[in-house]
Chain length 292, copies 2
C-alpha cells in the first residue's frame, strides 16, 4: 500500500494554477492554508458518506466530483464565487489506483470552477468525504435565506426530482438514463447565483428537497407562502417536491425582476404557514396547510 | 430519536458571544457562514475517527473537546489566533443525551479559546468528526514550516510521549494517571505560538510524532539537522520521539532568541539529512543518519 504521504501527493497540486486569482498565499503543505483577500469569505462543509450520500458502486471519479459539487452548491446559494476547497477523506481502501481516480474526479470539478485544493486530511476509516468550500462575493451583496419579502415570487430554475430519478435509474442499471449524471455529477448553480444575487431577496439550495428547503427559507425569513403545485416542474410525479439531491436554487424575487427563464412556483405571504394549492387533485400527503 | 434539526440546535449557539470579536457576520443557519475581516485567514481541517483517533469508550465530552483541540493545534503552529471552527459529525448514535454531552465538550474548548462554531454537517455514518478551524495572525507574521535557517536551534516546549502514555494508561484503566488528560484533552499551544511567532524561523505541530514532524519541517525548509537524543525530554523512553498525539510545537529559533523555557534538542544544518547523536547508547532503530 502507498503511504499516506504518497497518496496526498496525488491531490496537492489540484487547482494550484488558480492560487493567485483566488487569493491563496499558502496552499497545501503547511499546517494551515492562508487566504489574503480584502473581501468577506463565505465557507461551508458538506459530508458525503458511503451508502448514505453516494452508492458504494459509484466510480471514485464520480465520488470525488460529487463530494465537492454538493458543497459548492452552498456557495451558489449565497450568490458567491467559489475560490477554494479542502477535502478530508476517511477510507480503508488500499488500492492507489482508486485514489488516482478519486483525484481525477476532484480535478475535473476544480478545473470547471477554477478553484484550488488548499488542504485536507487522509485518515483510516469507513469511506467518508468532507468537502470544505470557500468563496467570495461577486458584488457587494451576499444572498441570505432570511430576507424574503411578502409579495416576492418564489422561483426555481429546473425540474425537481431529477436526482431521485437518476439514483433509481443507476440502481436499476439503466445506464442510458440522462438523469444519472444529475445525481452523480450535480451542477452547482454558481452561474445562477451570480445572475440573481443583486435582485433576489433570499435564496437556498435544494439539497434536502424543494419543500423542506423552502420551509427553511421561509422560517428564516419569518414569512409564509402560497405554492401552486401545478406550477412546479416535476420529473416523475408531485412527490418530487420532497426529493433531495437536486442542488437547484430556490429563491425569491420581487415581481418586477421575474424572468421567464425561472419557474415561478408561488408567492411569499405574511404569517408562518405554507399553503399548497392545486387544481389537479394531486395524491400527496398534504392538508392544504403545512405548519412549521 | 431526535431529528437532525433538533440535534443541530444543541450546537448552533456555541461561541455565539464571540462572533463580533472574531469577524463573523453570519454564523450557522444559512448555507454558508461569513467572515468579514481585513486580515489574512488561516484554515485547516482534522479528522477524528473512532478507534483510530480516539477510543470508542471515551466520553462524548472528551471526543468533542479533542476533535476541536487537535485541529486548533494547526492554528498554533502558524503562530495565529483561532477565531472559529466548523464541525462535521457522522454518527449512528440515536441517544440525544450523547449529543448533549458532545456539545458540552465542544463548548468547553470554544469558551477556553473564545472561538465560535460557525457551521457544520450532521450525517448518518460510522462515528467520524471533522473539525475545520479558522484563525488570523497575531501580528504581521505567520509562522511557516519552510523557513528554518542553518544554525537555528531546534526546540520543543514539553516532554514527548505524554499522550502515548496517557492512551496506554486509559486502556489499562489507570484512572489516576495524570497523562490521560494529555491524550484526551490536549492543549493546543496557542499561547506558545503567539509568544514565538515574531522570532521563530519555522514551526510545526507534533501530531504524528516529534521525529516525523521535524522531518517534515526540515524537508520543507530544505535543511538538515543534528539532534542530540540526550537532550530530548521523554516520558517513558527514547522511543517517545516517534509517539504521536503530543500536539506540542517543534520550532526553530536563532541562537540569540533562545529562552530557557524551551527544550533545545538540536540545531539546523546544511544538507538533507538528520544526524541523531547520543552518549547513552539508546536502543532505538537508527543508524546515526536518517535520510529523507
Amino acid at each position: 500500500m502507498s503511504s499516506e504521504f504518497e497518496l496526498i501527493e496525488l491531490f496537492q497540486h489540484i487547482g494550484a494554477e488558480f492560487y493567485k486569482q483566488n487569493g491563496i498565499i499558502t496552499g497545501p503543505g503547511d499546517d494551515c492554508a492562508i487566504f489574503d483577500l480584502d473581501t468577506p469569505i463565505v465557507t461551508s462543509v458538506d459530508s458525503s458518506v458511503i451508502d448514505v450520500h453516494f452508492p458504494s458502486n459509484a466510480s471514485p471519479q464520480d465520488i470525488g466530483y460529487r463530494a465537492v459539487a454538493v458543497a459548492l452548491s452552498d456557495i451558489a446559494a449565497m450568490g458567491c464565487k467559489p475560490i477554494a476547497f479542502s477535502l478530508s477523506v476517511s477510507s480503508q481502501i488500499s488500492d492507489e489506483i482508486w485514489y488516482k481516480k478519486l483525484a481525477e474526479g476532484i480535478e475535473d470539478i476544480a478545473n470547471k470552477f477554477e478553484i484550488s485544493l488548499i488542504g485536507g486530511d487522509l485518515t483510516n476509516g469507513p469511506l467518508n468525504l468532507n468537502a470544505i468550500v470557500y468563496g467570495t462575493p461577486y458584488s457587494e451583496k451576499i444572498l441570505m435565506r432570511d430576507s424574503a419579502q411578502v409579495g416576492d415570487l418564489i422561483c426555481i430554475s429546473s425540474p425537481t426530482g431529477r436526482a431521485k430519478k437518476g439514483l433509481a435509474d443507476w440502481n436499476n442499471m439503466e445506464s442510458n438514463s440522462k438523469y444519472i449524471q444529475d445525481y452523480l455529477r450535480p451542477l452547482p448553480k454558481i452561474e445562477l447565483g451570480k445572475k440573481i444575487v443583486n435582485f433576489a431577496s433570499a435564496c437556498i439550495d435544494t439539497s434536502d428537497g424543494l419543500l423542506a428547503d423552502l420551509k427553511k427559507l421561509l422560517k428564516a425569513s419569518k414569512q409564509g407562502a402560497v405554492i401552486n403545485l401545478d406550477d412546479i416542474p416535476i420529473t416523475i410525479d408531485i412527490n418530487d417536491i420532497n426529493a433531495g439531491d437536486d442542488y437547484d436554487l430556490c429563491f425569491t424575487v420581487p415581481k418586477s425582476k421575474f424572468d421567464n427563464t425561472f419557474y415561478k412556483i408561488g408567492e411569499v405571504t405574511e404569517g408562518l404557514e405554507i399553503k399548497l394549492t392545486s387544481n389537479k387533485g394531486y395524491d400527496i400527503d398534504i392538508n392544504g396547510y403545512e405548519h412549521f
